[in-house]
Subunit: 285 residues, 2 copies
Amino acid sequence: MEVIVADNAGFCFGVKRAIKMANETLDQAHGPVKSLGQLIHNPQVVTSFQKRGLEVVADLDQVAPNGTVVIRSHGVGPEAKRRATELALRVVDTTCPFVTKAQQYAAKLIEENYKVVVIGDKDHPEVKGVVAHTDGKAIVINTAAEAEALKFIPRMGVVFQTTHAIGHVQEVVGALLKRGKEVRVFNTLCGATTSMQKTAVELAPDVEAMVIIGGRLSANTAQLAEVCRKVNPRVLSVESAAELDPAWFAGIRLVGVSAGASTPDEVIAEVVERLTGIEEPATSA
Amino acid sequence: MEVIVADNAGFCFGVKRAIKMANETLDQAHGPVKSLGQLIHNPQVVTSFQKRGLEVVADLDQVAPNGTVVIRSHGVGPEAKRRATELALRVVDTTCPFVTKAQQYAAKLIEENYKVVVIGDKDHPEVKGVVAHTDGKAIVINTAAEAEALKFIPRMGVVFQTTHAIGHVQEVVGALLKRGKEVRVFNTLCGATTSMQKTAVELAPDVEAMVIIGGRLSANTAQLAEVCRKVNPRVLSVESAAELDPAWFAGIRLVGVSAGASTPDEVIAEVVERLTGIEEPATSA
């Protein structure tokens, strides 16, 4: 098959930064280094770091006294950082700067007496971290229907999960306008995610199918597949080349590829190589 | 024909208030009383006030020294009020309280260093008055396309023409989210307009045609017709019963009626009476 890779596919600035910081930490560390949750939502990267000794832990208690803890790119709440300091841990904070901004806006809105609404997935670590910056007071919603079901909120402050699609937040903010008098929105969408979605959506109608590569837990990868599906129903999501089934591509000669922000270049290259090798069955002459 | 009149048709609180204030002023005035622009956008009401001596003037210079000036329900800028005071005029301000709120929010946003965007018709007196409350600094846009054409605005404050439809402002605010980092919206839609549109839109699909009554210059009447047209293409806008042409209703047995916020009950009653009298041509037996 012919393969076209969308511009902006793969690692974003925040992911590159988190990986670089984690690598430097491992290079320089004398004692054990732990990651509080998965550094980024990509299984290959997490496994590769595990092999180098970066164990994922769920709680700060699992970090040895005076050990080093790496804060994941999705961020944590202020309480986790306070506890790490109390435990005298060395903290390496890889929180994506765009996520830090969303946390700061949420904190500022609470401080200025707004009821904070986060448009995002309440179970995603980034959203949990943002909510933690409002002392847990923020409401999390993810759909226009959930927005319309809210009680009236006179002073509403709104931030977005950074990896959401613009079309999605436009719809939900529209619904929120019905539920608030003042609706003060900070557009906390990450520019890299927006660009990545834009180029993939531009490519998708021009190819017969799209393959989106990324971790199953990766929110930006899921959004990427979703925005593509709106313009081309034939979208396949995979974590790696191993998941590609030639049968799925029957009759397809031109396929587009994009990848979430946490997908390494090698994984993209493997998928592209594999796709290129898938041949149409020879037509009987 | 059968006629159903939508709930909330006709005079809103702000219009009733303006008419009451103008009447009281005329009752008590010793000298001449002028209206700075049309009190409300309804020709019958304006004409009826003119007969009682309330002349419409375009400029404060046309008010006699020490005379009385009535500020229209759509409001004016702060400069007009300052000049009226300088000219020692007696001012009767009938500005709708919902419009006053929109003016105050716009002024507050400018004071707090927001770039103000008004979603409305730049030629409408209400919008001109709101813009005047920002020292003329506000941008006026009325469509999503105009919003998308704006340059990036880091701190954007948004207010609406009070008579706009919720669906319309939702769409334009959605587009503004792409052009701003912070987008602070005050939902200045008037509740009466929203209720009036809602009941008319609920009625429109259940009737064969809708008749919308109101002044040609009335923004809320135009919006009312527009929201109805989205759910029933057969919508007729009239200012009075005299404009009803039985031919337009050929084949129609059930018609719905609503009226803009500045339409008097007598005008609605005349239209309903006229519509009720329109008979289907007798079918030849």
